[in-house]
């Protein structure tokens, strides 16, 4: 009966502890019972006191071990997500700032041209110094008629005036302006501002500029973002391993020196 009670009680230890020490606990229990045969009451006080203290301690230790590890790992996972989001946000913000900056001075050029053209100004631009957006970063202007056919241009690509997709004109007509990045040919991307103008001969003005420098800057920012992200993740990994290590070390240290529970005979 007494042994059956003790067998049941030691099943309340953490499973690993019970699997490792169950048989030894039982042997020690039998020895103690034999040695204290004439002191049944004192025997039970000692056994119950030991069970109460060691069951609490071992279960708390198991819970605490797993709990701390879980918190550290969860926190690291959260930090990984945060670091990744911050890196992505940083890249997107930098990219958008560069892209927005790429529309200047085209906005001003397009506005000036629409005022001039609406007031009956000259449609024609000098044809000698045409800008080639595949080789030059210089801004250029193209004037289109109301149906989107080019009338005059200060740019040429492969000897022809680059023409944006027709949807750009209808959007610009409806919203008084459209800002697009458009690829007239592979390897050439243009940041363009399109504005409609009225007057006797209504149409559209497109002010554009090659995005090659902006794209090169974007590429550099992308590389920097990737390098920064990997470095932070590496540092986070090292830090997490260090914290897990020190948590384990200090826990075992406390168990031996008992700095956290020095009282009495409790190790």
């Amino acid at each position: 009966m007494t042994e059956r009670f003790y067998r049941a009680a030691i099943r309340l230890y953490p499973p690993e502890f019970h699997a490792r020490n169950g048989q030894e606990l039982l042997l020690a229990f039998r020895d103690l019972r034999a040695d204290m045969a004439g002191h049944r009451f004192r025997f039970w006080i000692r056994v119950l006191k030991d069970l109460a203290i060691s069951l609490t301690k071992e279960n708390f230790r198991m819970f605490n071990d797993r709990g701390i590890r879980r918190v550290i790992v969860l926190q690291s996972a959260l930090m990984t997500v945060v670091v990744t989001l911050v890196a992505l946000m940083g890249y997107v913000i930098a990219q958008q700032a560069l892209r927005q900056g790429a529309n200047y001075p085209q906005v001003q050029m397009a506005q000036d041209a629409t005022f001039r053209l609406a007031a009956g100004g000259d449609f024609h631009m000098a044809g000698d110094d045409l800008v080639d957006p595949s080789r030059s970063l210089a801004p250029f202007l193209i004037v289109f008629d109301a149906s989107g056919h080019p009338i005059s241009s200060s740019a040429a690509l492969n000897g022809k005036t680059p023409v944006p997709p027709p949807g750009v004109f209808s959007y610009a007509r409806d919203h008084r302006e459209d800002r697009v990045s458009w690829q007239p040919r592979p390897g050439v991307r243009i940041a363009a501002v399109i504005m409609p103008f009225g007057g006797q001969h209504p149409g559209f003005v497109l002010a554009g500029r090659s995005l090659s420098e902006v794209e090169a800057s974007e590429q550099k920012i992308w590389y920097l973002t990737i390098v920064g992200w990997i470095t932070l993740l590496f540092a986070l990994g090292i830090g997490t391993a260090g914290v897990l290590w020190s948590a384990r070390e200090s826990k075992q240290q406390l168990a031996i020196t008992g700095c956290s529970f020095r009282a009495g005979n409790k190790p």
């Binding site: 030691i10 230890y13 502890f17 490792r20 020490n21 030894e24 606990l25 042997l27 020690a28 229990f29 020895d31 103690l32 040695d35 000692r46 056994v47 006191k49 030991d50 069970l51 203290i53 060691s54 069951l55 301690k57 071992e58 384990r248 070390e249 075992q252 240290q253 168990a255 031996i256 020196t257 008992g258 020095r262 009495g264 005979n265 409790k266 190790p267």
Partner: protein, 123 residues
């Protein structure tokens, strides 16, 4: 590795750990023999129960102050095969350092007349 920590980092030891190490100082013992010896050495002031003892063994094994060892031939023949433990070199060193720490504390207490000798000398 946890076992690689300096022995001096583990000083002071808890009274129970100190007496467990002390019980193993003269050779390998099984758990109940350690329990009995600790109780005898401390005149019954430290009475380890089985759960407390094996919890301490687990932690001492983890930091390699003790290790399991083969049981002696007379026990191997027994039907109740027991696990035996002995001190490791770091365990012996930790025990020595703790003993020295206690000895110097006792010497200091003696110089301060805690035991009454200093007062007796003056009288």
């Amino acid at each position: 590795m946890p076992g690689m920590a300096r022995t001096s980092d583990r000083i002071p030891l808890t009274p129970a750990v100190f007496h467990i190490l002390l019980a193993l100082a003269d050779g390998e013992k099984h758990g109940y023999a350690v329990m009995k010896e600790v109780e005898a050495h401390t005149q019954g002031r430290i009475r380890l129960g089985p759960g407390t003892l094996y919890g301490s063994f687990d932690r001492l094994l983890a930091v390699r102050l003790i290790e399991e060892c083969p049981s002696p031939p007379n026990d191997q023949a027994s039907s109740h095969h027991r696990r035996y433990y002995r001190l490791t070199a770091p365990g012996r060193l930790a025990l020595r350092e703790e003993t020295q720490r206690l000895r110097s504390a006792v010497a200091h207490a003696r110089r301060k007349g805690v035991f009454g000798e200093a007062k007796a000398e003056r009288a």
